[in-house]
Symmetry: C2
Subunit: 225 residues, 2 copies
Amino acid sequence: MTGTRVPTPTLERLAIYLRVLLDAQEAGIQTLSSQEIEEHSGISAAQFRKDLSYFGEFGKPGVGYSVPDLIQCIERILHLDEEQPVLLVGAGNLGAALVNYPNFKAHRLRIAAVFDNNYVKIGRPFGDLVIEDIARVKEVNAKIGARLAIIAVPAHAAQEVADMLVEAGITGILNFAPTVLRVPPHVHVRNVSILQELAVLSYHAVEQSVAYADGQATRGGKDGV
Amino acid sequence: MTGTRVPTPTLERLAIYLRVLLDAQEAGIQTLSSQEIEEHSGISAAQFRKDLSYFGEFGKPGVGYSVPDLIQCIERILHLDEEQPVLLVGAGNLGAALVNYPNFKAHRLRIAAVFDNNYVKIGRPFGDLVIEDIARVKEVNAKIGARLAIIAVPAHAAQEVADMLVEAGITGILNFAPTVLRVPPHVHVRNVSILQELAVLSYHAVEQSVAYADGQATRGGKDGV
């Protein structure tokens, strides 16, 4: 698959289809129509068919898509067909939520080690793991060989952690810290910004309420404000 | 601002600028150039100037942008100029991470109530709050008047929670559950999907490693695999 780069929006949709398909598999469902995938993914059936056509021929007319076949195909594209170890940095509340997150396993993702720089925490159990010193991340990952890591530390510490992860061979970082990380071009970062999401929602939520109040006022014969 | 809808990508960038500006303010910085904003936001100076021009005239040539003025402006656009109460549903590890998240306050976001359906948890303290019964969310929010809510419950419970939140007057939902929520058109949902982010990173991280190995092999005079 090297060379034919899959565009990121397509990858994002493939990840959504995969979740829908894994849910279906767990529910014992063997085939899904593109219409059913639309219903569960929120992505149109047309887009789904277009995305899949990019990778070859799938689905049988009148029968639908084989759930296990499609899972296998998408897992192969996303390189989730083998277990992917993931390093977690930050043994706080968010780290605890991640290490106990029940849905990683179905995606063949496994938090293989957890790190912190707090000497009170290092050596303590954390989920099924023991918290290790972030200073040892390169040494530890020489054995694990993880390419993926999650940063769940405060913003002021995130860049230093990112540098250490890159040095340890990590090429994909999921960053929860509200800061922009500087990484070499071969490293991909995806940011989860809770504040940014809430700020966008704040705009929509209030505009919506104002629009609604305007509508009410207009219906009541008053001027909209 | 009603009527002139701001496009979502613009809102997302405004939220990023706001974080950069609040960081600068905390560091005692009074003015920033668009170049400095590029450096801290990862968004080009040209895009920043274009986004701002949408809302009026800002910045002085050779001086830069006034940090407090720009904060005030962006907060007004995003409706973060007054405190926004936020409901949190799900008093698990993720909920704990959110309720203790130190960065809400600078954005004038405040988790005003936390709910769960687990009778063992209801009535217990959670951060500075006491966990309330999700069955009472409408009644509780009649007093709070929140428009925003965060869903931090397992996927199978998320739709029911969303229905209750909509019934309680919520118009903006930040959803951490790995499932697609069905809501009325006046309600906005933004999804934080940890699995989706990691799946996209998985593709990039492995492709990157393969590309790197190919490069090494080519430099070594062997065929790329």
